[in-house]
Subunit: 664 residues, 2 copies
C-alpha cells in the first residue's frame, strides 16, 4: 500500500484505495506484468476518474477559459509531430510506457500543478521565506505542495528503475515538470536542484555514499544543493577559498563560506545534502585543485537515521527581485563546530564531476525560462481575448461596441512575438531532451559522439536564448495587460521578475557566449557545426515541395552559411581576446538561426498535419505556419547585422578604457 499512500495525498483516498485494490488484488495479472510502475498506473487511473468527475478549483488568477500553464495541443504537437517521442517509446528501455499512459500522467500532473502549485504562487512571492533565529520560515503551502508532488511519486520521474525511479523518457520528464515550473517555479526549484545532486552522486559517488544518501534524494525526502560560489568568487571558481582538511577517519573538515546557495537552508525536509566545491590543502592552484564533497546539514547515522547537526550555519538570506519563494543563502561551514564532508569522486576532479551534469542543468535553466515565458504568453493571450477596449482604426464610432484587444494589430504582434519566442524555445528544449534520450538508448559509439557534439553546441543556446527572448516575451505580456500587467494582482510581472534570474545562474550570459564561440563551434575543427549543418539539411529536405516553405529553407541555409563564415573569420583572428569580444552577440545570433530551424521543423509538421490531420486542428496548424513566417520575416533577418559585426572583429568596446566611460 506504499504507492497508494503516496498517491492518496492528491486523490480522494477511497477512490485511490479502490483502484489499488482492483489492481493489486483482483487483477494479479496486471500486478505481475507491470512490476515497478504499478503505482504510476494506479495513480493515473484514479486521477483520470477524478478528472472526469471533479470540479476544478479556481486559481488565484480567477477562473480562466483556458489553462494558463500549458497548451496541451501544442505539447502533443511538439513531442509527437515535430519531434519523435514515438520512436523513443518503442525502445525496450521505455517499454513500460505508451502514448496513452503518458497522456494520463500529463493529465494528472496538469491537475496537480494547477490545483496545488499555481494557487499560491502570488502569495509565496509576497511572503518570501524569512530568516528567524538562524532558521528559515516558509509559508505552509510550500510543504503541502511538495508533499503532494512527492506522494504522487513524481520526485522519482527522471531516474532509472535501478535506483528506484519511474524511468521516464527525459522529454516526458521535461513535459511533466514543465507544468509545475510554469505554475510555481520557486517551489519546483528545490526539486530540480535535488535531481541534479542525485544524478551527480549516482555518477561519481562511492557505493557507501550512494547507499546512505541516494535513496533519500531520489524519493525527495531530503533535498540537495550545489555550493559553488563564494562572495569573492562567482563566475571565477578558480578563486574559491573553502578548505577541506583530511580527518583521521577519512572524511574531511570543511571550512569556509558559500554564497548564492539556492535551498541552502529550508524548513521543508529533515535533512539537506550539500554538494560543496572546496580545496584540499596542497592541491594545485586554480580550478585544477578543486574537489567535490558531500556535506550533509545533519549527520547521518549508520542505520540511516539523522544524527547530530553538522554545523552548516545559515549566515543570511539574499532578497531577490524574483524567484522569491526559493531561499538563497549565505552558508558558513565549520565555523561553530566541525562540518564533516565526504569526497565525491577523485580529489581535484571537483569541477569535472560538477560539469558531469552541467549540460542537463543548463538545459533545465532554459526550460525554466521557457516556462516563465509560457506563463506570460498564455495569461496575456487569455486576457487579450476577453478584454474589450477600443475600436478598429477604420471605425472609431463610439456608439459601436468595443472590440477585444486581441483584434488590435499591435496586440497581435505582441502575442505573436511571445508565441514565436516561447514555442520556438520550447521546441529546442524538447529537441535537446530527445538527443539526451537518443544517446541513452544507443550503443553506437559513433552516433553517440555525434549527438554529444550537437548537444554540446546547443547547450549554451538552450541556456541563454530563452533567458533573453522569453524574458522579452514576459515584457510583452505585461504590455498586453497595460496598467493591470504592471500590478502584483496579475501574474505577468512576477513571471518577468522570476525570469530575469536565468541569465545569471548556472553560467552567465557572457560565459555562455565564450563557451559557444571560443570552444563549441571551434572544437574538432568545427565538427559540431558540421553536425548541425547535416541536421538542418535533413529538415530542409523534409520541407522540399511544401507550399510556402521554400523561401524559409533558402533563408535558413544562407544564415547558417553566414554563421560558418563568421566562425572561420573568428578562428583565424590573430588576437584571441578580440576574437571573442563580441561572443555574446554571436551567441544570440546563432540562437536565432537554431530557433529558426526549430520553427522550420514545426512548419514541416504543421504542413503534414494540414494534409493529414482533422479539420478541428486547422487553426492550430495555421497558427504554427504563421508563427514560422513571423520568425523568418521579423526575427531571422536581424542576424545579418549581428554576424557582420562579429565577423568584422569590431573592437569599439574592446578598446575602451574604464576612464573613458565618464571621463574620470
Amino acid at each position: 500500500m506504499y504507492c497508494g499512500v503516496r498517491a492518496g495525498c492528491i486523490l480522494e483516498l477511497d477512490l485511490q484505495t479502490a483502484v489499488m485494490i482492483i489492481l493489486t488484488l483482483y487483477m494479479p495479472e496486471v500486478n505481475r506484468l507491470f512490476g515497478h510502475c504499478i503505482y504510476v498506473i494506479s495513480t493515473v487511473l484514479a486521477g483520470t476518474i477524478l478528472l472526469l468527475t471533479k470540479k476544478r478549483t479556481p486559481t488565484d488568477a480567477g477562473e480562466k477559459t483556458m489553462s494558463i500553464i500549458v497548451n496541451r495541443r501544442d505539447l502533443d504537437f511538439v513531442m509527437y509531430e515535430a519531434l519523435d517521442l514515438n520512436t523513443i517509446l518503442e525502445s525496450e528501455h521505455y517499454a513500460d510506457y505508451d502514448r496513452e499512459s503518458l497522456d494520463a500522467m500529463l493529465d494528472l500532473c496538469q491537475s496537480l500543478a494547477e490545483d496545488q502549485f499555481l494557487p499560491f504562487a502570488a502569495k509565496l512571492d509576497a511572503n518570501e521565506p524569512k530568516f528567524v533565529d538562524g532558521k528559515v520560515e516558509t509559508i505552509p503551502e510550500v510543504k503541502e505542495a511538495i508533499n503532494a508532488y512527492r506522494e504522487a511519486g513524481l520526485c522519482t520521474s527522471a531516474y532509472d528503475a535501478a535506483i528506484g525511479g519511474m524511468q521516464l523518457p527525459w522529454m516526458m520528464d521535461q513535459a511533466l515538470n514543465g507544468m509545475f515550473v510554469c505554475a510555481n517555479n520557486p517551489v519546483h526549484t528545490y526539486l530540480f536542484l535535488t535531481q541534479g545532486v542525485a544524478n551527480m552522486l549516482n555518477a561519481c559517488g562511492s557505493d557507501e555514499l550512494k547507499a546512505r544518501y541516494l535513496p533519500k534524494l531520489v524519493e525527495g525526502e531530503w533535498f540537495g544543493t550545489m555550493c559553488l560560489s563564494e562572495t569573492q568568487a562567482g563566475s571565477s571558481l578558480a578563486d574559491i577559498r573553502t578548505k577541506a582538511d583530511v580527518r583521521a577517519d577519512g572524511g574531511y573538515n570543511i571550512s569556509g563560506t558559500k554564497m548564492w546557495i539556492s535551498g541552502g537552508e529550508q524548513d521543508i525536509t529533515d535533512n539537506i545534502v550539500h554538494m560543496v566545491l572546496a580545496k584540499i590543502p596542497g592541491s594545485p592552484p586554480g580550478v585544477k585543485g578543486i574537489s567535490l564533497f558531500l556535506v550533509p546539514k545533519n549527520r547521518v547515522n549508520d542505520d540511516g537515521s539523522i544524527g547530530d547537526s553538522n554545523n552548516v550555519a545559515l549566515a543570511g538570506l539574499n532578497h531577490k527581485m524574483g524567484c522569491r519563494g526559493t531561499t538563497n543563502c549565505l552558508l558558513n561551514f565549520g565555523e561553530s563546530g566541525e562540518s564533516i564532508g565526504y569526497l565525491v569522486g577523485e580529489p581535484n576532479q571537483g569541477l569535472a564531476n560538477m560539469f558531469h551534469m552541467m549540460n542537463e542543468a543548463r538545459i533545465s535553466v532554459g526550460m525554466a525560462s521557457v516556462m516563465a515565458g509560457m506563463g506570460g504568453y498564455l495569461y496575456s493571450l487569455d486576457y487579450a481575448r476577453n478584454r474589450p477596449q477600443g475600436r478598429p482604426l477604420v471605425n472609431r464610432n463610439p456608439e459601436d461596441a468595443q472590440i477585444m484587444i486581441s483584434e488590435h494589430a499591435d496586440i497581435k504582434r505582441m502575442l505573436m512575438t511571445q508565441k514565436a519566442f516561447v514555442e520556438g524555445a520550447q521546441t529546442l528544449i524538447y529537441y535537446s531532451a530527445q538527443l539526451i534520450d537518443q544517446q541513452k538508448l544507443s550503443t553506437d559509439k559513433e552516433a553517440n559522439a555525434r549527438t554529444d557534439l550537437l548537444l554540446g553546441l546547443l547547450t549554451p543556446i538552450c541556456k541563454s536564448w530563452p533567458s533573453e527572448f522569453c524574458l522579452e516575451a514576459n515584457k510583452l505580456a505585461i504590455q498586453v495587460l497595460g496598467g493591470y500587467g504592471y500590478t502584483r494582482e496579475y501574474p505577468v510581472e512576477r513571471l518577468y521578475r522570476d525570469n530575469r534570474l536565468n541569465h545569471i545562474h548556472e553560467g552567465t550570459w557572457g560565459i555562455q557566449g565564450i563557451d559557444i564561440l571560443g570552444r563549441k563551434v571551434q572544437m574538432h575543427n568545427g565538427a559540431a557545426v558540421a553536425v548541425l549543418r547535416e541536421e538542418i539539411q535533413a529538415t530542409v529536405d523534409s520541407a522540399t515541395g511544401m507550399s510556402g516553405l521554400a523561401e524559409h529553407c533558402t533563408q535558413l541555409k544562407d544564415a547558417l552559411a553566414q554563421i560558418e563564415a563568421t566562425v572561420k573569420t573568428v578562428s583565424e583572428a590573430a588576437d584571441p581576446s578580440l576574437a571573442l569580444a563580441n561572443a555574446t552577440i554571436f551567441l544570440d545570433a546563432m540562437g536565432h538561426v537554431v530557433i529558426a530551424w526549430m520553427w522550420l521543423k514545426q512548419a514541416v509538421a504543421a504542413t503534414r498535419g494540414l494534409q493529414q490531420g482533422t479539420a478541428a486542428d486547422t487553426a492550430f496548424y495555421q497558427g504554427k505556419l504563421a508563427a514560422t513566417q513571423f520568425f523568418f520575416r521579423y526575427e531571422l533577418p536581424k542576424t545579418d547585422a549581428s554576424l557582420a559585426l562579429v565577423a568584422g572583429l569590431d573592437s569599439t568596446c574592446y578598446d575602451l578604457s574604464a576612464d573613458q566611460f565618464t571621463g574620470s
Copy 2:
C-alpha cells in the same frame, strides 16, 4: 524672510540668515537688481559655502567613488557643448541667470538629491504607502524630502515669474529635476504631476479658478493629479463613464470611478487638486463629449482656507511592480456625498485641454526613463571598476591577481550599451527641451510652426525610445552585477522595475507608434520629416572634415532616406489598418535614426572639444567618440531589417485570428 525660511530647511539656519542679511540689508544694490529671484541667489550662495565645508552623508548604497545620480561633466557637455543653452541664456527672458548661477544651482540640487532623496529610495520601495481606514500612510522620509525640495523653492522652478516661478530655462529645469528623478523617482512623481496640473490650469482655467488654486500648486503646498482612466477605459478614453451634472451654483456634481490615479490620495499635502475628465449629460458621444473639471479633495473657502471634504473617496491602492513609492489609486467621486467640480476651459474640450500639456508630459516620462537608465548605468559602472573577478582570456594563471570586471570585454560591451542608450536618449530629451525654450523665446511665427512640427515628431520618440532602450540598459546593469544585481540589496533591480512603467502610462508604446506613423510623419505632406531632414543635414554639415565622422554621416543620411521611403510606401497603402500594423517597429527604428543623429551631434562637439579643450577632458571626449562609433556600428544597422519589414506592409500578425494562437 520668506525665502530664507524656505531655504533654511536644507541649510544650517545661521548661515542662511547671514547670507540673507548680507544680501537684503547690506547689499541693497543686489536686492534692487535681482528682484524676484533673490531667494535663489541667497540659497545658492549659502549652499555653495556649505558644500565646501560639509562632510557629505554616505548613501544607503555605500560611499561611492563617484556620484550615482549624475555625471556632471556629461551634463555640462550636453547642455553647453552638444546643445546650445548659452544662446538661450542670452535672451532677455532668462536675464537673471548665467552659467555660473546655474552651476551653483546644480551643485545645490545634486547635494539635496543625494542627501535627502537617494538615501531612502530602497526603504520606500520596501515600504510602499499603505491603505489604512480609507486613508494612505506613507513613511515620514517622503514628507521630509518633499519639504526640503519645497523649502528650497524648487517647486516653482519651471514656472514664469508672473505666476511666482523661478523662470528657469526648461532645459535647466530638466537638468535640476533629473537628479531628483534619478535619486528617487517615486517621490518626484508627485511633484511632476503637480507641475502638469498647474500648467494646465494656468493655460485653460478661469481667472477665478486660477486665483484660488494656482498659487498653492505652484508653491507645491497642494499636489495635483490627472484623472483620465477608468477600469473599463484605459487607452480608450472615448468610453469613460464619469458624469458631470450641472449644479444650480454653476459648478458640477461629479460622479464615477477613476482608475490608475497616481497620487490620487496621499498624506503629504493638506489638499489635492484632481483634474478629472467627465461627460456632461447630453454632450456628444465619444471623445467629442469629454470635458475637464477641477475637483479638489477638500473644498476651498472663499478666503482660501480648506473647508469640508469634497467626498473623493479612496477605494483602493494598486500594488505595482515598481515605482512603489507613489500611490496609485482607485477613486470614487460623488458616492458618499457630492463631489463638486469646476469646469476648466470650454465644455467638450476636455481632451484638447488635457493634450495642451501632453507633449511636455510625454517628454518628462522619457526623462524619467532616461534617469532610471542613468542610475543603473552609473551604479554598474562604479561597481565594475571596483569589483575584482576573473582574469584575462590570455592569462588564466590563478596565482596572478584578479582583474576588475570592467576589463572583461563583455562587461565593457554591457557598459558601453548602457552609455550609448542612456546618454543618447538624454541628449534627445535636452534637445527637445531646447526646442521648447526656443519656441518660448521666439516671436517668429514661421520658425515656431517649424519647431512645433519637429517637436511633435520627436515627442513619441522621447516618450517611447527610452522606455524601451533605457529599460534594456537597466537589464544590463543587473547583468554587470551578476547575482548581486538580482538582489534588493543593490539598486539596479529596483530601477529596472521602476522603468518598466514608462511604456504604459501617458500613452502606451503602441499608441506612440500609431501617433508617429499614422499622424506625425504624414501630416502636412510630410512637413515634419522635412524639418528633421534639414536639421540632420545641418549636423552632417558641421561634421564635414572631422576625422572619423564621414562614414557616420553617410550612414545616417542613408538611414533617413530609408525612413522617408518607408513613410512614402506606408502613406500610399490601400488598407490604412494594414499600413499601421507594424507602426511600433517603425517607431523603434525611427528612434534609432534620431538617437544616431544625437550621437553625431555629440561626436561633433567631442571632436571640437578634443581640438580646443583641456587635456584633462581627453578621455571624456574619446569616450563620446567611442560611444558614437558603437551606436553607428552596433545599433543603427538594425534599422535596415526593421524598416524593410514596415515598408513591405507585412501582414503576418495582422492576418492572424485569435483562435490561431493556440488552436482553440
